[in-house]
């Protein structure tokens, strides 16, 4: 029988989702449930003079209206959970509801509770708020200037943090043979999972227990933070992430609305539901990226990179979000040298408060920005020394014999074969033929371009001691219990919390394969703090590398125990027992055997257990990885730019990814496709646009371009498999490869296509207008 690990089985979660029997947060309906709607500030920066809720309160169907003052003393502000040391961090918590001042357009100032969502919305219109509008500041660079408006009185220059890692003397750049300097803007994007945020809270006044269903990627983190915010012990606060309709980082953060809904459910002793509208999602759910990157690369004329220095001026938005301090510093900074053996590197990050929606992790969180600057810089370097961009990459890629590789930024890349992934991608592509065609087509006035991205990223954070050293207020280990029931079926518990990844399939594949039981006999439980003892959730491509490893180890414990029972029943010693495909057999005597199901029954009945073996058949593992994992690969993008309209068409997209052990190739490829669509989205179409006054202009799907099916050709995806030594599966993590690799591959391709026009650099998104203007001004120069 073929191994289940590595097999493209259909997903276990699909039948319910395909038939409309999923249960998303908005699908939950409780007896007596009322509905919440938030009144949000229309101003980016204003003092709140007066909030009058009288008329709203008297509207028939309205249960209650709360302002920030009404909630004072009932709940705390919501804090961040990443307090990076050594950077003079000035964390600013999100107030439950704004009381004295609003700091971004969309910040909540009041909440209506009503019998249904229509009435709740009606009542919002009846609340009167007097604001004294203050000057707003949107750009992080302007916000740091001395005359800029201050968001928080005790944060001079709006500077929330200043982080430095590494130092390179100026002489290194002054004496270098070649220096490339470029300013790049990695623009603000809006995660936009198709399910917005939402929460349903139910409080039991008798027991004091609170159940909060919410759209969470990490219910245990939500419990940890909200327990303190709400003053409810963890024993009495149950967080359930039901089916969650995508997250992409946006559902990691602990926001205020979910906690407010719980707080009010306790106040009014009725279940309360809140479902974010899409236009609220645009304003009130964390945004991603928004980093101004100034990169300086030194090298030799023959293509060696000798030093890299990067300054990142990052827009944190109005408050410090959950992982907000970590994304532009640790997540970004540690990976600036990318897949290249660059001997010296240094990073400076400014984290700045502005009158915008707080920023936090978005699929990749810091790594896409790091990859973007190095992959763009390499192309600029190649241009400057007149060398092929593939050749420059080849010269500088970390060689195979250097692993585990200690980078200049002080991290250790676990394993890799970077040239192999590059070779495989080039083989699929046929580079030489393309350059020929490019030349021919240019004669005909058709502008083709190719872009490369030989990326590496860091995922599966660990060990927890490192998390502590970098100020993350939590652990990064993962937990799993594997429970074999008396009848032989298996329940697997995980502290990761899937929201589209297919974990209910992949984790069950691991267990079914190891135990030798049918996949249909194994079920996964996740996303409920009452069922799963502890865990840290799904983000940072950690689910398989850390959570899957815990599942694998917990299964090993089950087998270990079962082996003892089998040996006892078969009247032999443990070392005489072989376990293959669900059968415990005495070595050399096939007639003496027990199935895992038989042992499950024996273990659970406990009529005849060996000395010292406790009843039941269950294993638990708490896996704390020894290091991060480093997936890598090569993406190649081919574009055609329309000279007349500036439109960019993706002609081919080749992705060779190495994510270590692949548990399910079908699901792995799905992750690759989705990530690439989002990465190409950032490169070409997506971008949050604010007015100078802090109004979000790209605040609906009419104004914010989401990638559509017709924007893409079929993606050509392939894998190489270099196992990670960091976990027992050898897995590396896959969720963020596309958003990390794609933006520079696409932008490099467009810049390559635009070479005949002498266009040097353009910032994402490369909209037709931007490209058309660049072509025109390039031509004007001629």
């Amino acid at each position: 029988m073929a191994s289940l690990i590595g097999s493209a089985v259909r997903r276990k979660e699909d039948p319910r989702l395909l038939t409309g029997n999923g249960c998303f947060t908005d699908d939950i309906k409780l007896t007596g449930m009322v509905h919440a709607a938030f009144l949000r500030s229309p101003h980016a920066h204003a003092r709140i003079i007066r909030v009058d809720t009288e008329k709203a309160r008297s509207l028939p169907g309205v249960t209650a209206v709360f302002t920030g003052l009404d909630l004072a003393g009932k709940m705390k502000a919501v804090p961040a959970m990443w307090f990076l040391p050594g950077c003079d961090l000035k964390p600013k918590d999100r107030p439950a509801l704004a009381t004295d001042k609003v700091r971004y357009a969309g910040e909540a100032v009041a909440v209506v509770i009503a019998e249904n969502r229509y009435v709740a919305r009606d009542a919002l219109d009846l609340i009167e708020v007097d604001y004294e509008v203050l000057p707003a500041v949107v750009s992080q660079e302007l916000a740091m200037q001395d005359d800029a408006a201050l968001l928080h009185d005790d944060v001079p220059n709006n500077l929330a943090l200043l982080w430095k890692a590494g130092e390179i003397p100026d002489e290194v750049f002054a004496d270098a043979e070649v220096v490339v300097k470029q300013r790049l803007y990695n623009q603000r994007v809006i995660p936009s999972p198709m399910e917005t945020r939402g929460a349903v809270a139910q409080y039991n006044p008798g027991s004091g227990e609170m159940t909060l269903w919410c759209t969470s990627q990490n219910p245990h983190i939500h419990r940890l933070i909200y327990a303190d915010v709400l003053g409810i012990p963890e024993t009495k606060l149950r967080i359930i992430a039901p089916d969650v309709g995508g997250g992409f980082g946006a559902k990691i953060a602990t926001y205020t609305e979910e906690a407010v809904v719980a707080c009010i459910a306790r106040e009014i002793q009725k279940p309360v539901k809140w479902v974010e509208e899409r236009k609220e999602h645009f304003m009130a759910t964390s945004h991603g990226r928004d980093e101004v990157l100034e990169v300086e690369l030194a090298g030799t004329k023959d293509g060696r990179i000798t030093a890299l220095r990067v300054t990142n001026t990052a827009n944190l938005g109005a408050y410090l979000s959950t992982f907000g301090a970590g994304c532009p510093t640790i997540d970004f900074g540690l990976m600036v040298t990318g897949a290249y053996a660059i001997p010296q590197a240094a990073v400076v990050t400014y984290g700045v408060y502005t009158n915008t929606t707080p920023t936090d992790a978005y699929r990749g969180a810091g790594k896409p920005e790091a990859t973007y600057q190095i992959e763009r810089a390499i192309d600029l370097f190649a241009d400057k020394i007149g060398m092929d961009p593939v050749e420059v990459r080849r010269i500088n890629l970390v060689p195979n014999d250097a692993f585990p590789y200690n980078s200049a930024m002080g991290v250790t890349y676990d394993s890799g074969d970077y040239q192999k992934a590059l070779d495989k991608a080039l083989e699929i592509f046929d580079y030489e033929a393309f350059r020929e065609e490019q030349k021919e087509q240019r004669q005909k006035g058709k502008y083709l371009g190719v872009g490369f991205s030989t990326y590496v990223e860091l995922c599966g954070f660990g060990p927890s001691a490192v998390a502590g050293a970098i100020g993350f207020q939590g652990g990064v280990w993962e937990n799993s219990t594997v429970r074999v029931h008396p009848g032989g079926t298996v329940t697997v518990f995980t502290g990761t919390s899937p929201h589209g990844q297919g974990t209910a399939t992949t984790f069950c594949q691991i267990v079914a394969e190891k135990l030798g039981v049918p996949l249909s006999d194994v079920e996964l439980v996740s996303g409920d703090t009452q069922s799963v003892s502890m865990g840290w959730g799904t983000y940072g491509s950690r689910a398989t590398a850390v959570g899957g490893a815990a599942v694998s180890l917990a299964t090993d414990r089950v087998i270990e125990k079962a082996r003892k029972i089998a040996a006892h029943e078969l009247e032999t010693t443990v070392d005489q027992i072989e376990f293959i495909a669900g059968q415990f057999t005495v070595k050399g005597d096939l007639s003496r055997s027990r199935t895992i199901q038989q042992i499950a029954r024996s273990a659970n009945y406990a009529w005849n257990l060996p000395e010292g073996v406790e009843p039941a058949l269950e294993g638990q593992s708490f896996f704390d990885p020894s290091n991060f994992v480093y997936p890598f690969g090569t993406h190649i993008c081919v574009v055609e730019v329309d000279e007349g309209t500036g439109e960019v068409e993706i002609k081919r997209y080749i992705a060779v990814d190495d994510v270590g052990r692949v548990i399910n190739p079908l699901l792995a490829e799905g992750q690759v496709h989705g990530g690439i669509a989002q990465g190409v989205g950032q490169a070409l179409w997506e971008g949050a646009v604010y007015t100078e006054q802090g109004q979000l202009q790209s605040g609906t799907f009419m104004d914010y371009t989401m990638p559509k099916a017709r924007f893409f050709p079929p993606i050509e995806s392939a894998f190489t498999e270099t196992l990670s030594p960091v976990n027992p599966l050898g897995a590396k993590g896959i969720g963020e490869t596309g958003t990390t690799a794609a933006p520079p591959a696409v932008v490099n391709a467009v810049m390559d296509a635009l070479k005949p026009f002498g266009v040097a650099a353009l910032d994402m998104p490369l909209t037709p207008e931007k490209v058309w203007r660049a072509i025109r001004s390039g031509r004007d120069k001629e």
């Binding site: 198709m194 079908l666 799905g670 009419m702 559509k708 099916a709």
Partner: protein, 172 residues
């Protein structure tokens, strides 16, 4: 109190009758009144298509239709696709081809695909991509959705179905 309107429609083959506020959207009627929560709401500007249902056999965005406008009409939601014999070919194809990840967009996407296959039983890759203009999926990058639609088209053609069989609702 706002005035009330009576609506009746056939949903997935079953007659329903309710007294509702005239401003109630069809999607809320299905989800809140009839507890058919398989149809989702992904936006408030008629862009995402998560709410797509069949109204008298044609795909419509149920967030953009008032429940009263559907009065007397026949509706098929995702709950009406499978029959006692099992999953509808479109559901089967999405399963086989991994056309869904989080599954939030999926009911609307499948219904939109049925709309396409009813008009064009043998669409090209290009035609499928164009036909999906009205739906947004953030998870899949669309490729496996396209594969699923292609596969469903083939299955249906091989089964000799000219019009995509629609739950009991349309047969009834």
């Amino acid at each position: 109190m706002a005035h009330q309107a009576e609506v009746s429609m056939k949903v997935n083959g079953a007659e329903s009758k309710s007294v509702i506020e005239p401003r109630m959207l069809l999607v809320h009627y299905l989800r809140e009144e009839l507890n058919l929560t398989g149809t989702h709401i992904g936006c408030d500007t008629s862009q995402c298509g998560a709410c797509t249902v069949l109204l008298d056999g044609d795909p419509v965005k149920s967030c953009t239709v008032l429940a009263v406008q559907a009065n007397g009409k026949s509706i098929t939601t995702v709950e009406g696709l499978a029959s006692k014999e099992g999953l509808h070919p479109i559901q089967m194809s999405f399963w086989e081809k991994h056309g869904l990840q989080c599954g939030f967009c999926t009911p609307g996407v499948m219904i939109a695909a049925i709309g396409l296959l009813n008009e064009n039983p043998d669409p090209s890759e290009e035609e499928i991509r164009l036909a999906l203009e009205g739906v947004i999926c953030r998870c899949t990058g669309y490729q496996f959705i396209v594969d699923a639609v292609k596969h469903a088209a083939q299955t249906l053609r091989e089964a000799g179905e000219t019009k995509v069989a629609m739950a009991d609702s349309m047969k009834a």
